[in-house]
């Protein structure tokens, strides 16, 4: 409930909406009395949750959302339809590659489905396993010249197969997004948008096998991100070390 000695916003919202037990609510009351930051956050939610019966989104909004979801679903289905026959084809290609020793082809960078999970900021629940753990390796991220305001650390936990990045100094970039890339030993590259909050971001990767991955890097991309890095690079981390 308490993060960095402050009460999470979710708990404050539940408190205001009467969703907590009496003892939890009393604990929050006691904390808020002495904590200016939580008082401000509580005041924000108090005003923000005052509902106005007449204020509604337009009736067409649901239609628009359904339309977007429909497009997403049909894209996914199309992908699955393509993938099924491709499995057979892939088998043949693998045999051909093995026969002709064309392993170099695999070194070409390509976008593949990720075999990892990504969590960001408040969704990261397991960062405690990185703290004071002797098996965890840490190193600072290396920002590129144009982004020297950026600083951060990377922690690699071989026990849990997790990589945690903390970045600060992510200046606001109008009409662009920060994106993070993870590159495996075969040169396959996958990107995720970085959710920046107050100039900082925390990203946790949970991978299947750490030894499959080689480097991570950041870049600036058009809004919504790109399929592969196109913009100026922001930082670099060698995770093989």
């Amino acid at each position: 409930m308490v993060k960095d000695n402050h009460i999470s916003e979710e708990k404050l919202v539940d408190y205001l909406q009467g969703q907590l037990s009496e003892s939890e609510a009393q604990g929050i009351q006691r904390h808020v009395e002495d904590c200016v930051k939580c008082q401000q956050t509580l005041a924000f939610w108090q005003e923000t949750l005052e509902m106005d019966e007449d204020l509604q989104p337009s009736a067409k909004l649901k239609e628009k959302i359904d339309q977007s979801l429909l497009v997403e679903r049909s894209l996914k289905q199309r992908l699955i339809k393509w993938k099924m026959p491709l499995f057979g084809l892939a088998g043949v290609i693998v045999i051909v590659i093995l026969c002709f020793s064309l392993t170099d082809i695999l070194k070409v960078q390509q976008t593949v489905e990720p075999d990892y999970e990504v969590y960001q900021n408040q969704d990261i629940m397991s960062d405690q396993v990185f703290m004071n753990n002797p098996v965890v390796d840490s190193q600072p991220i290396k920002p590129y010249e144009d982004f020297d305001e950026m600083e951060g650390m990377v922690w690699i936990n071989p026990q849990t197969q997790e990589i945690l990045l903390e970045m600060e100094g992510l200046t606001n970039i109008y009409n662009n997004d920060y994106q993070i890339w993870i590159i495996d030993k075969n040169g396959n590259i996958n990107g995720d948008l970085i959710i920046v909050e107050n100039g900082s971001a925390r990203v946790l990767y949970r991978v299947e096998d750490l030894s499959d991955f080689r480097i991570m890097k950041g870049s600036v991309e058009p809004p919504g991100g790109s399929h592969r890095p196109t913009g100026p690079e922001t930082f670099y981390v060698d995770i093989e070390k």
Partner: protein, 186 residues
């Protein structure tokens, strides 16, 4: 049916569960987004973004952090504040709205979430008197009357400074664009 079951069914791709979830939360999400952004089309856009994210990433919900209603509220707040950071013209509208708005604590919270350099970069483009008036209003939380007293200027001229200052901020959408939007494969 409780929210958690609805979320479970949405995860399984159940359209009716999504319809019910929409019914329960569309006004709630929209109003939170509107409170932060003070801009109806942007608030609708954030509402759409939040619903799609919830539908696709319902597995992000962690019961230990609070109820689904609280999760939805915080997610909406977070997306709306991100939008203000990314769109200076929406931020300028929001600043203008604050003068007449009756939610001072909510506005103060939103302004504090903005990186100071975004606000400062916009302010620096204005004449000094306008900069001072707006700075006093946001950072020192002075009323227009207090600004007039502190700066020894007539109230009408302080009001004009703020109004012209904010209008100029709105015109300077591109000033904060420190990286062009060219390139990319999207």
């Amino acid at each position: 049916m409780d929210d958690y079951l609805l979320l479970e069914q949405m995860r399984a791709g159940n359209q009716e569960a999504f319809d019910e979830f929409y019914q329960r939360y569309h006004q709630y999400i929209f109003q939170i987004a509107y409170k932060v952004l003070a801009n109806r089309p942007e608030a609708e856009d954030i509402t759409q973004e939040v619903f799609i994210e919830i539908y696709q990433r319902s597995d992000q919900y962690q019961a230990s952090r609070g109820s689904i209603k609280a999760w939805v509220a915080v997610k909406t707040r977070s997306r709306a504040i991100d939008r203000l950071r990314k769109k200076p013209e929406v931020l300028a509208d929001k600043l203008e709205d604050i003068i007449t708005n009756a939610s001072p604590a909510a506005d103060q919270f939103v302004i504090e979430k903005m990186e100071k350099d975004i606000l400062r970069a916009a302010l620096l483009q204005l004449p000094l008197s306008q900069q001072q008036a707006i700075y006093h209003m946001y950072y020192d939380q002075f009323t227009q009357k207090e600004i007039a007293l502190t700066t020894n200027r007539p109230l009408g001229s302080v009001k004009s400074s703020i109004r012209y200052g904010l209008q100029s901020l709105k015109k300077q959408k591109s000033l904060l664009r420190w990286i062009g939007s060219g390139g990319g494969d999207k």
